[in-house]
Symmetry: C2
Subunit: 395 residues, 2 copies
């Protein structure tokens, strides 16, 4: 394999494994985020104290098995934000991967290494995970394709948890056809049938930086050429701030339930941002978390009813390109809040979302998202390929 | 039966028939628009020349049989606009029924007599038919409940055609519970399951007169109390003028195909408006009609995808209260065009629509429409009853 010039992979010896000699992914390579188990290796979860306090995995994660059996070759494990609890992709312990498409900017996270590895063409497919945007955001920032499949559609057996009610096993590819091929291996069968109409989520377009919205107009036109005129809609009259805040509160109690016991027992060193988020998770007001879960039920019923007939949401994956590496923590937090008001829509509702590397703003990539009802991931991947083709992108 | 003080029924001897002694509609009375056959009677279709050139029907229309078998008593046949081709409810041959809720205004049509009969409490249920608004509009104008069921869901056997691709057998009631009860008899089983979310069709609300939109705000709030916050959406970025125009052209060739041969053979006298519409139908440019049908396919795919998961459109049934009886033909035409830009949505797409007598403007009624995917009429009727109840209306 090519030298890891972007620091996408874990330092030290690489986990490598040949795939089956035949299969739909024969000849393709893949990497997995360091929260998926590979038998015999310690899963590090982005934090040295986690690695120190955990024994080597005794089995491969389900997705590793599936990809190997389909013929793909495992070429390594990629860096993750510590405990997957961050969106910039920063890792102070192992080094933040370079964003190959915009080296002066963050790669995005938490699946930062997987995104960087695919963007640098170090592998064809890379598994990430997405709770609140951890595949979609680095895909958008690094200029590659990414999917957050609908909740529950891809096995998380052998993956470290963050917020089990929101966690999904997603992946990246630099070509739409490869993203889809991996889906044919990883996703359950079914969910075919036509998608449409296209719904342009007004609040998400308004939330985007004007230059980003402008840059994505052409790709939106490509989507319209496939699905017909986009219908302007508002899906969260409560406001994206409310969507973000409810997601944050509901997720925090899950994160603390999943990881608090280990943190309390181990007192690990945690990097900037991550440390503060776990402190907030520990202190989360149960009433706010309950309100978040109640809002989730409302939004979920709403979006599932809206999308159940095949409708597809379309909006900028992130409000703009990746923040600069020189951004302050306050600036990063502001971007995070503005970003998650939109990513939390699919997060709260368990929807499938594919991001297409549709445009650049000042040289840095921005993605366009297509979002469909749970269980429609295969159709969504086929649609993304058609839209990318119509937009003249590499499919 | 009470005296027909509003001229809702055909003049002369009334068609009357007892229903089955038991059944879900036992104790209720019904009337049918004079385009449904009743055995032994000439079906007049609103025009003396039609009556003169047609023999008595040899069998009851399917809906007549269904209602009689369910225990309802038939108390008469009601006036219709000639050949059902008009929205004001005017009939120069038999007299325009009085709008019991606003006697200085048109009753709306083409199912004018059925609406007037129910509004004047002369019967519990009245069958109309709806191609481009002929149940919804008189229901809105007369302050009663009305349903245009989804296309194909209720039999039109034994009913005169106008535009077979758009014609539906709808009905009126002064109470939501009675409207639903008739649906349980007339509609096929199935289509249960939850409805939602509520989609507020922006162009239809903007199309309404400001006073009407304001008057319906409270009922919209009642619908939101049942289905959650309404999501603003635009369903026809092409514009309502285009929707109306495509409907008009596509329907006209159907109307001429259905009734042109009789008109050419008989040279009937036709009243004002109706005469001009059939002349236009005869002269319709086939290319415009084909464009209308093509638009129909686009809009139908769009709306069925949008509503297939259970979503419900909500908008003012008509842009305002009924036109005054003193309105000029030009004023009537302007209202007609503005009205049908909205009614043509369900018309073109075969959707089910229920109108609720939700408010008054300057003393005259205006209705609020709830619109669902084809096949969801039973659920829609149950929803309308809940919304009406939440709005404090008679259910």
């Amino acid at each position: 394999m090519t030298e890891d010039t972007v620091g996408a992979f874990l330092p030290g010896a690489r986990t490598r494994r040949a795939g089956a000699s035949e299969g739909p992914l024969a000849g393709l390579t893949f990497a997995v985020k360091d929260l998926y188990d590979t038998a015999g290796d310690v899963t590090g979860y982005g934090n040295p104290d986690w690695a120190r306090t955990h024994a080597p995995a005794t089995a491969d994660a389900a997705v590793v098995t599936s990809l190997l059996e389909a013929g793909a070759r495992l070429v390594g494990k990629t860096k993750t934000v510590e405990l997957a609890y961050g969106l910039t992709g920063e890792n102070v312990w192992y080094g933040t991967p370079t964003n190959p498409a915009a080296p002066d900017r963050f790669p995005g996270g938490s699946s930062c290494g997987s995104a960087a590895a695919v963007a640098a063409r170090l592998c064809d497919i890379a598994m990430g995970s997405d709770t609140g945007g951890s595949v979609r955001i680095p895909a958008s920032y690094c200029g590659i394709y990414g999917i957050r499949p609908s909740w529950g559609s891809v096995s998380l057996t052998g993956a470290c948890p963050l917020g089990p009610a929101y966690d999904t096993a997603g992946w990246f590819a630099s070509r739409a056809g490869v993203l889809r091929l991996a889906g044919e291996v990883l996703l359950p069968p079914g969910g075919d049938g036509p998608l449409g109409p296209l719904l342009k989520v007004q609040e998400a377009w308004v939330n985007a930086e004007p230059a980003t919205a402008r840059a994505l107009a052409e790709a939106l036109g490509a989507a319209e050429s496939v699905l017909g005129s986009a219908l302007p809609i508002q899906v969260a009259p409560e406001g994206l701030d409310a969507v973000y805040d409810h997601f944050r509160c509901a997720q925090a109690v899950e994160a603390w339930a999943s990881l608090g016991p280990w943190i309390e027992a181990t007192h690990p060193e945690l990097g900037p941002g991550v440390k503060e988020r776990f402190a907030a998770a520990k202190a989360m007001d149960p009433a706010k978390a309950a309100a978040g879960r109640a809002f989730r039920r409302v939004l979920q019923a709403r979006l599932r009813g809206l999308l159940g007939g095949g409708a597809v949401l379309v909006y900028p994956t992130a409000p703009g390109p990746a923040p600069l590496l020189t951004a302050s923590q306050a600036e990063q937090n502001a971007v995070r809040e503005r970003t998650m008001g939109v990513t939390a829509i699919a997060g709260l509702c368990g929807l499938g979302e594919v991001t297409i590397p549709a445009a650049r703003v000042g040289g840095a990539p921005v993605g366009l998202s297509l979002v469909a009802a749970p269980g429609r991931d295969r159709a969504l991947l086929a649609l993304a390929e058609r839209v990318a083709d119509a937009a003249g992108l590499m499919v």
